[in-house]
Symmetry: D3
Subunit: 243 residues, 6 copies
Amino acid sequence: MRIQVINPNTSAAMTRAIADAAGAAASADTTVTATQPEAGPPSVEGHYDEAMAVPGVLARVREGEEAGVDGHVVACFGDPGLLAARELACGPVVGIAEAAMHMASLIASRFAVVTTLARTRGMAARLVDEYGMTRRCCAIRATDIPVLELEEPGAEAHRGIAAECRRALADDGAQAIVLGCAGMADLPSRLSRELGVPVIDGVSAAVKLVESLVSLGLATGKTGELAYPVAKTYSGAMHKHSP
Amino acid sequence: MRIQVINPNTSAAMTRAIADAAGAAASADTTVTATQPEAGPPSVEGHYDEAMAVPGVLARVREGEEAGVDGHVVACFGDPGLLAARELACGPVVGIAEAAMHMASLIASRFAVVTTLARTRGMAARLVDEYGMTRRCCAIRATDIPVLELEEPGAEAHRGIAAECRRALADDGAQAIVLGCAGMADLPSRLSRELGVPVIDGVSAAVKLVESLVSLGLATGKTGELAYPVAKTYSGAMHKHSP
Amino acid sequence: MRIQVINPNTSAAMTRAIADAAGAAASADTTVTATQPEAGPPSVEGHYDEAMAVPGVLARVREGEEAGVDGHVVACFGDPGLLAARELACGPVVGIAEAAMHMASLIASRFAVVTTLARTRGMAARLVDEYGMTRRCCAIRATDIPVLELEEPGAEAHRGIAAECRRALADDGAQAIVLGCAGMADLPSRLSRELGVPVIDGVSAAVKLVESLVSLGLATGKTGELAYPVAKTYSGAMHKHSP
Amino acid sequence: MRIQVINPNTSAAMTRAIADAAGAAASADTTVTATQPEAGPPSVEGHYDEAMAVPGVLARVREGEEAGVDGHVVACFGDPGLLAARELACGPVVGIAEAAMHMASLIASRFAVVTTLARTRGMAARLVDEYGMTRRCCAIRATDIPVLELEEPGAEAHRGIAAECRRALADDGAQAIVLGCAGMADLPSRLSRELGVPVIDGVSAAVKLVESLVSLGLATGKTGELAYPVAKTYSGAMHKHSP
Amino acid sequence: MRIQVINPNTSAAMTRAIADAAGAAASADTTVTATQPEAGPPSVEGHYDEAMAVPGVLARVREGEEAGVDGHVVACFGDPGLLAARELACGPVVGIAEAAMHMASLIASRFAVVTTLARTRGMAARLVDEYGMTRRCCAIRATDIPVLELEEPGAEAHRGIAAECRRALADDGAQAIVLGCAGMADLPSRLSRELGVPVIDGVSAAVKLVESLVSLGLATGKTGELAYPVAKTYSGAMHKHSP
Amino acid sequence: MRIQVINPNTSAAMTRAIADAAGAAASADTTVTATQPEAGPPSVEGHYDEAMAVPGVLARVREGEEAGVDGHVVACFGDPGLLAARELACGPVVGIAEAAMHMASLIASRFAVVTTLARTRGMAARLVDEYGMTRRCCAIRATDIPVLELEEPGAEAHRGIAAECRRALADDGAQAIVLGCAGMADLPSRLSRELGVPVIDGVSAAVKLVESLVSLGLATGKTGELAYPVAKTYSGAMHKHSP
């Protein structure tokens, strides 16, 4: 099985870290390809960044489809372009935020999301609601560490994240932690040991969910909202993106 | 006051129709400029179309800001790029779906949305939820008329829309109709006469709301989720969009 | 256009303050008339006060209708009698709580209401829910300043309100403030400057919404819940209120 | 124990019917007094009627308090003035809509409300939501029988109500019926036999709930939203209602 | 009337305390029988305990039915086996959590649940949601007193509970307290005097609700989800429980 | 990896069918053991059946734990005993209803559940709500085929299920089908071909989710609601179940 993991930002270091996490999670007979948009924001830290990252993500989805991959992971905690990607792809597409939250809901009554910049808490809150996790997600906590500092997180970033997790356990009643950034994909096992609770990284969770769907023969239903895009010709510089 | 109304698709005929509706709604001392993306989908009929329309919408928002407009209307019923546009703009930005629904909630306990293609019903349902209108919106009905047939709606399109509205009144208990496409902006007064209930077009509603906000000195709060985008350099072909 | 703004309490000083705020918000070609019930509570600080204020409000709505006004504003943050007034009136009727909240939702992801007595917080919470603002309203904070002390707010009242607003920004993540009392109608611009976030007064917001609805030719739908009252004769002292 | 049952409309025939239902439900050692406002609407069929009935209801509550009754029932399915009555009274106050719905939720997973005029369905829907019954109430059906025709319901009214109940059982999956009008208080036992499901009348349900609360020593909490009204002097014709 | 009150745990001391509370609440012409499972957990402090207590509870329901009781109370705050008991019984079955919450909602806008072990807070939260009390229940607070220490609560347990109640009043805005354990059935009157707010014990509340339902001739609707169990033969050691 | 799949009823034929579906879904290096309670109901068709099936399910969970299995699947669409099993087990426990719904939400905006007896629709509705799937699940349809007729479904049962699925697609807007009974585990591929939409069986979905969780090193968080049961001695015949 071939799964394409798309890092929506253009940081090659983060793509490598995501590739590592995805590869470690994948089954022996799964080939994971990690990629990133040709052009776009170096990090996604708001709605504008996200909107500008999406066309590059969708171009990668299309290329993956043409290359015959079996499924896709969108590896940014805002799940940017997820529904558009589902329209475009034949196989399943899973976002890391939804993957992490669904997995968390199977092992905890209440979980907390620990994310990067405070301004992205609102974005996470919208996803919690969209995915039906309102009663499960007891807190969305921000560390105010910029995304790209996670490329090579030093002791301080790790300490900041762990401290915020501890607050979620003590003050919010969280029984599990969802890491709210693809850049944290290398942290769960160490954090889990330190904290004594499950810590969930969306990249590896999404890889397992795509593998599961593919092996069950399941893919996006194509009869309604998520049908293939209506064929039409886009104008100007967007012509190449015409569905 | 200067308001920029952005048609997210590239149909010049629809931009003209939107300009007419916006101009008719605007106060005497408001200058309305209608515009459309330089490149992109000729119509927005799904999540993929929407994602590919958004960069062009945001580019127009930025140009409008540089030209000193006081506020913006995003004139497609999916409100594409709305939150990103709010980050980018100094003044208020209002989408036509939210405008129509908020207005409808002031004059009816229950309203129905009557839209174009059946596949866009899911998109409308997400907005109904996002805007807190779940208890107010009693139905989302589709006419299955493609968006661009509304450019010059003949008698048949009109009849189809009116028939769906009548079903919403009789079967769903709607007390008002929200038209679910910017391309229907010329229909409300005639439909309202025929149906005997208020019929709300989002383009004119949004123009009035932007005028209202600007005249009250109100604009997007810039202290949290909707703060200006974090300054950074986008790579490659997206460089020009760097915030 | 003629708009009647009804202060549900019998404080003439507050009616004057409301008239000032409404007049300042109104367009040049709008005539605002501010009025108050002939008899009733001097301030509305609970459900009983509200119930006893409503007949006087509705009498003013009827008189306004007979005098040919185009729309009405109910200028008390509990929106007392709003649905009954919508039944009675031909044109639109807007309450200041709904006006402020709808406007706030257009410029902020999360807003806080800052109100007067703690006991009225429950009333505000019901409206937040009724208007679909549960996910948007992050806090309802009380200053415990009695309504009528706002007639001539001294430095202390202002400081108390500002302090509560600051807590809403720092502790609750509010990005905008909704002032929860018509008696605060003169505060928004000064508070907004001090706090650095949008501050919304319902009186001016409601005036703009009524103006918008009237200019769009929109009024309460009369086919269902909000149809004109069923004609009947009320008995005894209520005879004069017969619909 | 003394319980006052207040019919919010001024129909003496309906007050007698309510008195009969209340008396039949009351325990041997409970004295039920049925009353109606001195002045007001002969029937409550909309928000305006309701608003104008409330002052008369509250006057009766006050008189009952002065006469030393132990609790009150508000006997109109809109529960008019309920929260204001709770502020005013020392003992418990229960509305017939809330009583019927709470009781229904103890004996059925899903119940339907069968009411009178179609326009009052919206009022019932607001109460369903207010009382947390959204998942329990599967339908609100109207018979379009005016309230006062229920004073002396002939075979036709009975047949109309029974037919609507049958639709609720067959089409909506209702397992119990809540009768949505105090004027239907004499119907439950006969209807229940005909339909083979529990049929709940709010008047008798509310009497039992007030008896239960009083005998448990429970009454409205007076520390927050429902504290006694703030002492103040109402002006003009409302002076007599001053709290 | 005969009501059977079932203590789901096997503590005879707690059954006696429950019998006392139930007897004190019952009307003169009601006979209350308190019972407990023949075998099972000595206390219910989690989902596993609850699951293992339920067969014993249901056996008692069946025995009560055979003995001709008119209704049942399930006297553990998790309402274990409630829906299964409703299927089995001819008359009404009421749980103490639902009883306490419904009663609380009639006398307070916001109530808090004060319970025993912290781990049972999640169980209470599920019931709050199930019973439609999300907007009414402002807090679920745990004292971390094990259930069986309540058999003979000393001054310390009482102080711990009272302290948690005070926090609910001061910090959460509770206007009434719901006691979250059948073992607290002797506390409400003393606590209510100390705290100055209504304090509700579910055992006595449930007794009154069963009495009310029985006297109104109401029992579980048997046409859908809660119909009598489908007749079938259970295998092995469960044979005796065959419906 | 070793996964135990527990059929909560005592039908050996159904256990075999479940074993087949589970085995077909499992990865090459996963050993699936299918089991059923020693004693209990031959089918689960209501709350009473479910309550009586749970102790046998939990006994199997304990035996599996002692035998060192890595995770468990509860293979009945009501997910009976799920939370108790999570308390008891060291590794993850997944129910087939939650598994199917979470998977469905990844590939469809709206799905329908097609189940057996009409009376179990209420049970499914509770799970839809519990799992946050209210906006995703557009219908719960019953075929009124008894569970055990699915042991060897003939052409008629298949036709009945397919017909109900078609109604869900045409009338409810479903984009995918969730099969609401473990006894339907052999149907998805054939049905999916016939219907042209994804059809999801919970048994295979749950096996993949347990595999995924185990391979990610994730298991139930043990710090709160789902901690191991409190050690205590159960009395009488339940002694053997003491935690």
